[in-house]
Amino acid sequence: MTEVTVQPKKKGLTRRQKRRVSRGVQYVVFVGALVALAVGADWDRLQNQFAQQDIAEQMFPDVITLALKNTVLYTVSGFLVGLVLGMVLALMRLSSVGPYRWIAGIYIEIFRGLPALLIFIFIGVAVPLAFPGTEIPGGTYGKVALALGLVAAAYMAETFRAGIQAVPKGQMEAARSLGFSPARAMVSIILPQAFRIILPPLTNELVLLFKDSSLVLFLGVTLEERELSKFGRDLASQTANSTPILVAGLCYLLVTIPLGFVVRRMETKAQEAVK
């Protein structure tokens, strides 16, 4: 039984050699596909349509001072609404009171299941119909904050819940045994720890919202309220050229790529802290 079985030396490739060959084939296919794309595309027409320098130049400085500024403003306000509402929903979801749990559960299922676009249309059309004469404070900004916040809250509630549940049970027990009330223990002991855990997924949510803010065009906005996507589209139709779309796209990346970098940094740090 204990005798060592020696693999008979087969002719042909060893595992390591096979792996190398397979890797080589993958590289060749990948490079081949890239070259085919590069050669096949009509670069002149693409440049004509998407990279006209003079059109790009006339977008500045408005694309930054107006469009990007509005995009950031919409995103941050929506994020803040989502943060507060999401926290409330998460605590309801974890509550020992049945009806709280059900309400939060239903809310989360509905708003997570609906496209953000429908929520924007709903806020833009249904709310004024249902409550005639009432204005959502803040005008378009208020509406966007509400619509984005409603969507974000559903996702963030689940993130918060997971974060709170990831804090060991002993922390709550220790706090309660010291005389903390449940609410105090949650605020002073549990949430600060949960926040550290959910910072990376929360920042991801910020990136998603950043992109969803483009849906504001379905609310009908004034010139001053336009954000990147609307701004780019408007200019594209004015100039009958798609360069503004490309510039607007680059502006999104200008924010999302550094943000993604920050998230990865935080994830590494969080892992080090756990260790």
């Binding site: 060991p168 002993g170 922390q171 027990e173 220790a174 706090a175 309660r176 045994s177 010291l178 005389g179 903390f180 009330s181 105090r184 002073s188 002991i189 600060p192 720890q193 550290r196």
Partner: protein
């Protein structure tokens, strides 16, 4: 004679179908150090956790310092302020420094000012011999140091009673002594203590009283000399012989009695 500090009457606790405590009566006097021993699953930790209502008893009453803990209308947070608890897993707050671990509960729960909380924190850190770790985070401390900080955190609240739930079970053997030394100091100062432990040396030397539990009931209760040195019950003798000399145990057939007492 004054009223006992801890008084437990006819206490029952079930988790679903599993009856963990089956009628416990126990009185612990002021300044008394009681060690609760027994096999795992005997209900000793559950009993301890019922004293400050971390577990809600199914039936029965618990009084601490004359206040009924099990009264549904009692201000449980107020009662818990008078009962310090030390856990097997320390449960320090990892996002706070050692000093903040001691100061934050004083400020949030007792409403002490910043300066006073810091002063009390420093005093208690000195009592457990960890003044130089005041600014460290728990993760940088050894298990024994963390447990001493946990004891100091409980003491900073000025409790009348201290509960210890297997305080040395999660420690490396060479670190146990430091924690036991702090507990011995507390005992000498006259603190009322209820200690769930497997440390027989500590029980023999420090405890005024040893309670042996098995299968959710108190089997034997007396001085360390009575219970540990001269146990009257077969179950006590059997448990002690296994604990004191685990290498000598024989392989045994599991009886239905022991199956009920499996560890959680």
């Amino acid at each position: 004679m004054s009223r006992p500090e801890i008084e437990i009457r006819e206490l029952y606790k079930s988790f679903g179908d599993n009856e963990v405590l089956r009628g416990i009566d126990l009185e612990i006097g002021q300044g008394e150090v009681s060690c609760v021993i027994g096999p795992s699953g005997s209900g000793k930790s559950t009993l301890l956790r019922c004293v400050n209502l971390l577990e809600e008893p199914t039936k029965g009453q618990v009084f601490v310092g004359g206040t009924e803990v099990t009264d549904p209308d009692v201000d449980i947070d107020a009662v818990r302020r008078r009962i310090g608890m030390v856990f097997q897993q320390f449960n320090l707050f990892p996002h706070l420094t050692v000093t903040e671990n001691l100061a934050l509960p004083q400020r949030r729960v007792l409403g002490r000012g910043k300066a006073e909380a810091a002063r009390v924190a420093a005093e208690n850190l000195e009592r457990v011999g960890l003044s130089e770790k005041a600014t460290a985070y728990p993760s940088s401390l050894s298990g024994g140091q963390q447990q001493r900080v946990a004891i100091a955190r409980a003491l900073a609240m000025g409790p009348e009673v201290m509960l210890f739930d297997e305080p040395t079970s999660a420690l490396d053997p060479e670190l146990v002594g430091d924690v036991l030394a702090v507990m011995r100091m507390l005992a000498n100062e006259g603190m009322t203590m209820m200690v769930v432990t497997h440390e027989m040396t500590f029980a023999r030397e420090v405890a005024d009283r040893v309670v042996f539990m098995d299968g959710g009931v108190i089997v034997e209760d007396g001085t360390p000399d009575q219970v540990i040195a001269h146990p009257r019950h077969e179950r006590t003798r059997h448990f002690l012989s296994r604990l004191l000399d685990p290498a000598m145990a024989n392989v045994e057939e599991e009886t239905s009695d022991q199956v009920g007492g499996k560890s959680e």
